[in-house]
Structure formats: C-alpha cells, structure tokens
C-alpha cells in the first residue's frame, strides 16, 4: 500500500413542433430549431406527441446535437455515435455535440436487445448503421432544402465540413440556416450511406466530446444534481445477503440535526436528511435488528468447497464432441482446479439516483444503464404506471456492469424511498463506498475443473472443463435469455474454443446462493479466459512448445482473425519466448463480444510479487471508428484487469458478512503499478464490434503465464495477493 495524506453541456433544446419522424428500419430523425435549454427537456420532448423520435438536432447556430441512446460511462459512445452521424452528415467535428437520450424504449432501443440498454459491448455494433442512416437522412434533407432555396439541382450540391455548397452559383450555407427548410422536406426512408473508402472521420482520431467538461469539473453526474427541497437518503442494508429487517429503533437517528425522517423500505431502513453528512450520521445512529433466517451464512471458504464438489460432478453438458475416453490412453494427463473470488465493480461514482415525485408523476435523474428495466421497476415501487415515470440518463462515473441491473434494484429502491416518504418531494439516494463493496451484485465466485491429455508426440487429444458458479440471469428478467436452462454468461469463452483440442466436453454446474451476482466487465470471460489460456499454456509447456507458435499450430482453419491478432502481438512485442533478460513474458488470447484480443505481459519479480512493466495488445474490432478511444479502452481494460488480478477479492467471513469495506481493503491499481501499454489495431473492413470489455480477459492469464515462466510458480487462484487459504 502507498501512503496517503489525509457539464457535460446539457442545453437540451425546447423543440418547436417541427420534428419529423421517419419510419422503418429503426430510423428516426428530427430536425428542429432550439429555443431554450433546460435539463429534462428531452423527456418532455419524448412525451410530446409531435416531436418524438430524435437522434439529431441541428440548431440555428450550426451545432449538431446527437442524442446518444447508450449511457456514457467512459467507454466513449458520446463520441463514437456522434462520429457516425457526423461522417454521413459531412459535418465538421467542431460543430458536433452529444447528449444522453432519455429513457424511451420505442425510440432508443438497443437493436441487439430490443430494449433500451447498454451492455455486452454492443453500443457501436448495434448503432453503426442506424446512426449512419440517421446522419445520411439529415444530410439529404439539408441538401434538398438548399436545392429549393437556391433553385439548383440536388445533384450539383456538395457538402463538406459542415458547409453546403453549389459550385456553379457560388452559393454556400451552414446547416443552421437550412435547418428550418430541411425540416419541411420529406424524410428519405432509406438514404444511401457512404462507401467506407469515402470516410473522412471514421477511422481517424478527433477529440472526445466529453473531455473538456470532465477535466474542469463541469461535467454533471447524478450526485451533482441538486433540486429545491431535495433530501439526501442513505439506506441501512442488511449485513448478510438474504437478510431482512426484523425491527429497528430510529430515535437516535431522528435526533441527529438535519435528519428529517426514517422509513422502512423493502431493501432496508432509509434515512432522509437535508445533507449527505447528516444522512451518514443518522444512519450510523440507527439501531437495526436483522432477520438472518434466509441469509447466506457460509464463508467464502465454505462456498469454494461446495463449488469444488459441484465441479467434480461434471455438471450439465454445454458442449460435447468426440469421446473423452481418449484421455484414458493419454501419455500425459494434466489436471487443474482454478478458483475465482467474488469481485465488486467499484465504479468511482458509487450508485446514486435522484427521484422527484409531483402530483402522481415521477422524474428521475441517474446513470440508468437499462432504462427499459429501471422505469417499470421504479414505477412498480411507486404504484405508478410506467408511463408516469420519466428517466433522464446522466453521465455515469464508471459502471463496469454495476449499473446494468436485470433486477433494477437501484431504481426500485429510489421508487421505494419516494413512496415511503408519503409525500411529494425530491430524494437523492446515495450509496457510500461501503454500501457499494458490501452490497453484492458481484462477479460470481467460480471454480473451473480442467482435465486434458497429450499423446506421446505432445498433441492434445482431449479437453474436459467443468465450470461451477451461480447464474447471473436466473431469477431476473434476463432469465428469458437462458437457453435450455443454461446461462451462457456462466461459461462463455470456455465453449467454442478456437483451438483443436481433440475430444471436448464443457459442463456447467449451477449453484445457488442468496448472494446477488452480476456481470462484471467481460462477464464470463473474466474467468474462462484465465482457465482456458493458463491451462493451455501449461499443456504447451509440457509438450515442449512455444506459447505463441503452439497456439498458432492449434488454431482451427477458420480462426483467421484469431491468427491475425496472435501474430500481430507477437511481432509487436518482439516475442522471444517465456523469459528474457531476467523478465518473464506471458501470452494469452481471448475473443469476447465479437472482438479479438491478444496480449503479451512483461513481468518482473519484486520481492516475490509480480510487477508488470509492459503490456502489448493487438485488437481486431472490425472497422476502427475512433482509434484513440479503442486504444484508451484497451489501456483501461488492461489496468482494470491487472489491479483485479493482483489485489481484488470480496470474501465472506464465517457467518456471511463481507470482509472488505473500502479501498483500504479492496485495493485499486495505482499509477505506480500501471505498465506501459502498446496497442495495435488490426486493419479491418468488417462491421465494428465493441471495445469496452474485450481488453480485460487476456490480461490475467497472460500475467499468470509470464509469472510461471519467470518463477516456475503456477497460479490457480486469484488474486495474486494474499489469497484466501
């Protein structure tokens, strides 16, 4: 540990009723003239009968504002989706703005989900054609308006860098002066988009739209929302998962100056106060008796024992090919058990939500990652119809999966807080860091049991992998996405291996616990990539093969893009084998969410603990819309994964309480521990895929492989630091 001393532009336009709606193929578009700004206007607009479906607004001052249907939590959709619009609109980047789209299923659904939400690194992939079409339609309407105004043929008009021009007459105009005329034009149903060879913005770097506001303190997040008469609310949650309130005494809490009321809600006891510190003190003064009769009382050690037993059963078959009896005749049989802890996401901005209830309607401001789930959940808690709840989606101070809740527990809690107040009012629900780290929704504890065999020549003849963990989807609205009772998020990455491994079986043993679990940046790949790539690396070592060449030799013929990133990173890192000059080098590959990533880690032994000095990364995510954001996501994913691999685990103590509570016990990576990172983006003409998660999975196995190469010590459980015995 080191020692320590003690807007976004909001300006949503109040639209005139000049919005035009284009139907079909998910294309929606409106051009309108803004009059005045104001938070919440987007919600009002979405509810207005005349001006609903808007991705694009062009103002009289030439600014082009793109309503972004995906939450901006650092991964870059404000810039990425605005780039798609600007490209087809032939706008100048300096005129582009971005705002979060409000909660509205019909208008802003993720085309990969059929509901409004951000996750699975789908933002760019599902928006790629939709936003380009929106931009192309806007451009066509601006051109049509210019043609009418100037009395010239449409075909003679050109657009570049935000200027509409007619060369023969010498006339030109910015977008703003044409916006009103454009709004009267017919919306093209299926406007043509550019051939990628014509791209001028996609594939090049330009400044993020949110950088300046995030560097000078003006970016507005949920916790920064203050409204008249607003009370801050902290909730005392149970100390054990599955526990409920038995009784409570609020007399001392109510005596704290600033505490206005205390109410019981389904998730605990809520303390309402005029400020955050009063709410904290009020909550400390509460006396709550919990009913633990349905709670998880087992410790992490006991849970690991249970998972290990379950993994031995082989679980239900997920995938099976060939006959594993082949392993009986293996010249070398290798077995390993891998163990992964609960992980908290720990976004820097803890969970928070503002809700205001007035005359039977509610308006919310928060980093809602799944508005489609959050709205009905808040409405149900309030006893309102879903259409009487409006959600303003704000910037989020990180998420890493934490705000994407199938259970919509935060929205439900905010609704319950407002309901329990028994009066109209505005309430800001704030979770502290302790609430965050002890509040569950963890990456599930997981055990992998692996068995594989080599023949006398060192060739792989069979691969047997059983995963034991708790389902993320079961018991949530996501359960509908389970297939034949199987939850793919439990084992994704351990199936459909790119390697020829001989006979192959993947099993999944589903376990139950009251502990709430959730997807954590790269979900199942957080553990499957480790188990697969570390186990494979050991097998290659036993066979006397090089980690890189050995993998290339095992790749299936169709694994072309896998081969591409593996070869690229080996070249980038000047791969020389497992050790060189007293340092260890490890390799790993992982495909996740349609994106291919290979990483090489360079590690030093510093007093028996790994210190990572450099990481090389090759990524193939199709067309690179914003290369600088892709590099940033790889760098960040690597840092996020490295800190986790080295330090992070949430453990349950005997009796079921959470051992960790804040960053002193749930350790974050710090700048002095961050390696240099070099990223190569593979040139590709394929449609773009996501980058928010895919930088994560390969890092930990590459580190473990490097460490084994350097020290001879294999790593079968994470984190590296102070593993639970």
């Amino acid at each position: 540990m080191t020692d320590h001393d003690t807007r976004m532009p909001t300006g949503l336009a109040n639209p005139t009723r000049r919005g035009f709606l284009a139907g079909g193929a998910g294309l929606t578009l409106a051009l309108m003239l803004p009059l005045s700004g104001g938070r919440g206007a987007a919600v009002a607009q979405a509810q207005a009968p005349f001006a609903p479906n808007a991705f694009i607004r062009i103002a009289a001052d030439d600014t082009v504002t793109v309503l972004i249907k995906h939450i901006e939590m650092g991964q870059g959709p404000y810039t990425g989706l605005a780039t798609l619009v600007a490209e087809e609109l032939d706008a100048d980047w300096s005129q582009m703005r971005a705002e979060g789209a409000p909660g509205n299923d019909a208008l802003y659904a993720n085309l990969a989900f059929g509901a409004q939400g951000t996750g699975g690194s789908t933002a760019m992939a599902n928006s790629y054609m939709q936003m380009r079409k929106a931009g192309a339609a806007a451009r066509a309407m601006l051109v049509a308006a210019a043609a009418v105004e100037w009395g010239v043929p449409i075909g003679e008009i050109t657009v570049a860098k935000g200027i509409v021009s007619h060369a023969a007459s010498g006339r030109s105009s910015g977008f703003g002066a044409l916006a009103q005329g454009a709004a009267a034009m017919e919306v093209p149903a299926d406007p043509p988009v550019k051939d990628p060879a014509q791209f001028t913005l996609i594939g090049t770097d330009r400044p993020r739209l949110d950088t300046v506001a995030k560097s000078n303190g003006t970016a507005q997040f949920t916790m920064d929302v203050y409204r008249d008469g607003m009370l801050t609310v902290l909730i005392a949650h149970p100390l054990r998962f599955g526990a409920v309130v038995a009784s409570y005494d609020d007399s001392a809490a109510l005596a704290v100056p600033g505490v206005e009321m205390v109410r019981q809600i389904p998730s605990g006891i809520a303390v309402y106060a005029t400020g955050t510190y009063a709410a904290m003190k009020g909550r400390e003064a509460l006396v709550v008796q919990w009913d633990d009769s349905a709670a998880e009382l087992r410790s992490s050690a006991e849970l690991y024992d249970m998972l290990s037993s379950e993994a031995k059963t082989g679980g239900r078959v997920v995938q099976e090919s060939g006959d594993l009896a082949a392993l009986d005749g293996a010249a070398t049989l290798h077995e390993a058990k891998f163990r992964f802890p609960y992980l908290a996401h720990a976004p820097m901005e803890p969970l928070d939500a503002v809700i205001e209830v007035k005359a039977g309607k509610a308006e919310m401001w928060f980093g809602s990652q799944f508005p489609s789930f959050d709205k009905p959940a808040a409405a149900a808690a309030l006893g309102f119809a879903p259409e009487d709840v409006a959600i303003n989606v704000l910037l989020a101070g990180g998420s890493f999966g934490r705000r994407a809740q199938g259970s919509a527990h935060l929205a439900a809690e905010a609704g319950a807080v407002a309901k329990a107040a028994g009066r109209d009012g505005c309430f800001k629900v704030v979770w502290t860091r302790e609430d965050d780290l002890r509040g569950g929704y963890y990456r599930p504890v997981t055990v992998h049991r692996m068995r594989a065999g080599l023949d006398a020549a060192g060739a792989l003849i069979g691969w047997d992998n059983t995963v034991a963990n708790q389902s993320i989807m079961a018991g949530t609205p996501m359960e509908a996405m389970m297939q034949n009772g199987l939850d793919p998020t439990s084992y994704e990455g351990a199936n459909d291996l790119p390697y020829n491994v001989g006979a192959h079986r993947l099993g999944w043993a589903q376990v139950q616990s009251p502990v709430s679990v959730l997807w954590w940046r790269s979900v199942g790949h957080t553990h499957t990539a480790f188990a697969v790539e570390v186990f494979l690396d050991e097998l290659l070592e036993k066979a006397g093969k090089d980690p890189v060449q050995g993998r290339l030799d095992l790749l299936k013929p169709e694994a072309v893009r896998e081969r591409g990133v593996i070869e690229a990173v080996a070249k980038l890192a000047n791969w020389r084998g497992r050790t060189a000059d007293g340092k260890g080098y490890g390799f790993a590959f992982a495909k996740s969410f349609g994106t291919y990533v290979a990483e090489v880690v360079e590690v030093e032994d510093r007093g028996g603990f790994p210190h990572v000095t450099r990481v090389w990364c090759a990524v193939d995510c199709g067309i690179a819309v914003n290369p600088n954001i892709i590099r940033a996501q790889m760098e960040g994913g690597i840092g996020y994964a490295l800190g986790t691999a080295l330090f992070s685990e949430i453990t349950l103590e005997p009796g079921g309480t959470v051992a960790q509570g804040n960053f002193d016990s749930y350790r974050m990576l710090r700048i002095n521990e961050m390696p240099a990172v070099e990223v190569e983006i593979i040139a590709s003409a394929a449609d773009p895929t996501g980058v928010g998660e895919p930088g994560v999975p390969a890092l930990a196995p590459a580190l473990a492989n490097a460490w084994r190469g350097l020290t001879g010590t294999a790593t079968y459980q994470l984190p590296f630091a102070a593993p639970l015995s």
Binding site: T2, H4, D5, T6, G74, Q75, P207, R208, D210, T211, V212, K214, S215, N216, G217, T218, A219, Q220, M223, D224, Y226, T232, P257, G258, G275, T276, Y277, A278, K281, P347, M348, E349, P350, L395, A396, G397, G398, S399, F400, T432, R433, N628, A632, Q633, E635, G636, G637, G639, Y640, L642, N662, F663, D664, M668, L669, R670, I671, N672, M674, A676
Partner: protein, 152 residues
C-alpha cells in the same frame, strides 16, 4: 460557525463542525466538481487545495479549516492547471471522468512544486489518486506534456 475563503470568496458554515469540507463544498456551496469516492482519503477524488497544498476534503472536518483558503477545481487558476487541462484535452485522458477533477488538482499541485517531474515524481504525487478506468498511462503522458508546455 466556521469562516473560510472558498475560491476567493468568504463563506460561513454554521452546521455540524465535524462535517467534512467535501460535503460543505458540495451540499452547501454546490461546488460539485469535487467528487466523493471513498470517504477515507484512499482515492483522491475529493482533492482540493487548502492554503496552497493538496488536501483530501472528505476527511477534513470543516472546523479545522477556519480562516483557510480553499480552492476547488472550479476556482483553480494559473499556468499549471491551464497546462494540465490543455494536456488532458490533447490526448483525451478522461474516460468516465469521475476522478479527473482530483487528478487535475494533484497534477497541477505537482507542477507547482516540481516543474519538470520524473516518472518517479509523478508516481509519488499521483499514487493517491485512484482512476478505476485506469487512465494512468495518459495521466503520466499528459503531465510530461504539461511540464514541457510550462518550460515554454
């Protein structure tokens, strides 16, 4: 009653004297650029300048800053913070952005003391500022860039 100077203006606070400076800045003065991340001086998101030195406002009781000058991200001026913010924008340091006010404050404070910091200087000055998005590679690069700008 505590009196102090915040961003050049005299302010008074007559609430609980144990109230951390962070919550006075945010809840009472609505200076929301200073962020809450941990509450125990482990993450640096709440960093402000107190009489010219960086301080974690989340663990600084308001009663202890009587008569002090506090500068938040909103009130930061001078060549160092300008150079830092320009360098931040030049390579797009922020991702989610929540910690970045604190990062900018710590980086500006470093450059006020050490005009041309080494990597080790940067580690020492910045290790108390956690970035969960791990923008550290760019923070380091941007501080070096800002230092070069200040050299002219």
């Amino acid at each position: 009653m505590t009196k102090l100077i915040v961003n050049g203006k005299e302010v008074t606070f007559d609430g609980d004297p144990d109230t951390p400076l962070l919550w006075v800045l945010r809840d009472d003065l609505r200076l929301t650029g200073t962020k809450f991340g941990c509450g125990i001086a482990q993450c640096g998101a709440c960093t402000v300048m107190l009489d010219g030195m960086p301080r974690r406002s989340c663990v600084t009781p308001i009663s202890t800053v009587e008569g002090s000058e506090v500068t938040t991200i909103e009130g930061m001026q001078g060549p160092e913070v300008q150079a830092v913010q320009a360098a931040w924008a030049g390579i797009d340091v922020p991702q989610c952005g929540w910690c970045q006010s604190g990062q900018v404050m710590s980086a500006a404070a470093l450059l006020q003391v050490i005009s041309s910091p080494t990597d080790e200087d940067i580690d020492n000055a910045m290790a108390g500022n956690v970035c969960r998005c791990a923008t550290y590679v760019r923070i380091r690069e941007a501080i070096h860039t800002a230092a070069k700008t200040l050299e002219g």
